[in-house]
Amino acid sequence: MDNPTFQMIQTITQNRINDLFARKSQGLLNVYFTAGFPEIGATASILRSLEKAGVDLVEIGMPYSDPVADGETIQQSNMKALEDGMSLRLLFEQLAGCRDEVTVPILLMGYINPVLQFGVEAFCRKCKEVGVDGVILPDLPLDLYLDEYEPIFREYGLLNIFLITPQTTEARIRLIDEQTEGFIYMVSSASITGSQSGVSDEMLAYFNRIQAMNLRNPRLIGFGIKDSETYQMACQYANGAIIGSAFIRHLQNGPATEERIQEFVSAIR
């Protein structure tokens, strides 16, 4: 797998994510929330509020029964949304028309099985239709993606964002950098989402190592980014940061109003 046998992607897809990074390369903030959480009908309004609050990218979680890469907070939000009847079909209905109001790049984050059942091509077509720009599917590994699905994603102009961790080898990072566009999702430490491990020397060594690689893709750091301090730290080593569990906790602690979302984002920046 570490032998790149695929041709390097040359073209830069016309896409809101690529446009964003062409415009802005520092201090980007990507906020994650689970579709249909805390209320099943809240998806579109949370998306609008995040854009109003000045978030640069929005990552919407597609709830799944068995989210192995996620910690307790995101798992629980997934379970709650599923119990309330959330589904991929409903998510696409909720997002239909959102592009009349929001211009922020939208990513869908979730697991491969619901996408397979929806049909990969149908999924990509729907993403294009409603204005989704990219996806993050942690359990669809790079080799399987390139072997089976890359042409479909490309046809619909959908970017597939891949993760790297402190354990990912240099050769593999180079391969991901060559084969994908949009940005690279740097998982801050060996962990699931929502970990509270804090910033270690090991972590900083990893950030420095990746920074020195001069990758062609921008990088966002996620996992464990939870407040202004961790956000600022991440921004020193990458183009920005991704916040998930901390925002879900904020939504658990009070209503998902525009004011409260503004409050959360202002506290980070």
């Binding site: 797998m1 890469a69 590994p141």
Partner: protein
């Protein structure tokens, strides 16, 4: 080890990308990639090393108690009008076939320099088999078990604790085996360098299904020799085994996969009946998809959410099957039968009264499947009696 099956040539072997036909692969998050890749790069070299083989074989003989007998069940044979042999995995140390795999994997973990073992368990059999080999080798052991299973399988929880393992309740999702598996995977993600994950069946990302099948293949390796000694032929007409994830079945089928005259029968748990809404009959109710790192057949909703299965037997209470079995089903090489709780319990009592052997509830599903086969007096059948019924006495006692 006598590896009769050439994995690269057999249509039922795993290919270099980890697939059996269209099933298998390694659908894992990047956080797990280095761990799984380390294992993938090393497992065959380690297994094929003569020093490893010596150590593994010695432990199977002196610690597990292998070879396990192949017993001619005369009275059961008479009743079913066929020649029925029982492969007595119930006589393994710890009471089931699970230990064949944990002995192999702990030796791999040691050679990879791992300090800690994590495992998932449903009924507790795999957890006990893992805690046992960890005690034997002096490695730390963490076992995830669904909070609901902890309550209903107390004796095995106590065994694990006595063996020195830390038993952690999986409180997410439905709090049973599938969630214990998720939690064990999360634990491995959080501890990528010093921990080895001992999966308990032929499930999970490549190379697990192949590695576990190889360790369990000792079952059919012995059956071939034993059957030849008893009948003059290595090959029975049928091999029958129950399938939770499918490890005892994979072991019992392994050396017969490329022997088309031997029919391979897999018994799935139908629970209260296939259409009752309380079932674990994966091939009857499932569809292709991805579960716990491999593309396989799994029970799921139309939206691709994993369904919570049900079976009276905790070891079969799993919403998927290993990718090898999905391929056997898909290709028609395997014959799949769904067995209800009621029929399994009935067969457990029959075996007990006819042969003086109390089978595990899981194994009782394989026994019940015999009645679904068009047996004649010329047929020779090997049933994998995967475990003993001591752990199931609380359930059996309701029927006394």
């Amino acid at each position: 080890m006598q590896v009769a099956l050439d994995q690269t040539l057999s249509p039922f072997g795993v290919n270099d990308k980890g697939f059996y036909g269209r099933f298998g692969g390694a659908f894992i998050p990047e956080m797990l990639y280095p761990n799984v890749e380390e294992l993938r790069r090393n497992y065959l070299t380690i297994i094929n090393d003569p020093a490893f083989q010596q150590e593994y074989r010695d432990l199977l003989t002196d610690y597990v108690g292998r070879p396990t007998p192949l017993f001619l069940a005369s009275r059961l044979s008479e009743q079913l009008n066929a020649t029925i042999y029982l492969k007595r995995e119930d006589l393994c140390h710890t009471g089931a076939h699970k230990v064949n795999n944990t002995v192999g994997q702990i030796l791999i973990a040691k050679r990879l320099g791992k300090k800690r073992i994590v495992a998932e368990t449903g009924a507790g059999q795999h957890g006990v088999a893992t805690a046992t080999v960890c005690a034997l080798m002096g490695l730390e052991c963490v076992v995830y078990m669904g909070a609901i299973d902890i309550e209903r399988q107390k004796p095995n929880v106590d065994r694990m604790k006595m063996l020195g393992a830390t038993v952690v309740a999986a409180t997410s999702g439905s709090q049973t085996l599938k969630d214990a598996t998720n939690e064990a995977m999360r634990h491995w993600i959080n501890n990528p360098v010093d921990t080895h994950y001992i999966i308990g069946s032929v499930v999970g990302p490549h190379p697990y299904p192949d590695m576990v099948a190889r360790f369990q293949s000792v079952i059919s390796e012995e059956v071939k020799k034993q059957l030849f000694a008893k009948t003059g032929s290595e090959n029975p007409d049928y091999v029958v085994a129950c399938v939770g994830g499918g490890s005892n079945a994979a072991g019992a089928f392994f050396h017969y996969l490329d022997e088309p005259s031997v029919k391979l029968v897999a018994a799935e748990a139908a629970g209260m009946g296939i259409s009752s809404g309380h079932s674990a009959a994966t091939t009857a109710l499932g569809k292709p998809g991805v579960l716990h790192g491999s593309r396989t057949i799994l029970m799921q909703t139309e939206d691709g959410q994993v369904t919570e299965p049900y079976s009276i037997s905790a070891g079969l209470d799993y919403p998927g099957i290993g990718p090898l079995h999905a391929h056997l089903y898909d290709s028609g090489r395997g014959i799949f039968k769904s067995i209800t709780d009621e029929d399994a319990v009935k067969s457990a009592f029959e075996l007990t009264r006819l042969e003086g052997i109390i089978p595990a509830l899981e194994s009782a599903h394989a026994l019940a499947a015999l009645k679904e086969l068009p047996l004649t007096d010329k047929d020779v059948v090997v049933v994998c009696l995967s475990g003993r019924g001591d752990k199931d006495l609380a359930t059996y006692s309701k029927y006394l």
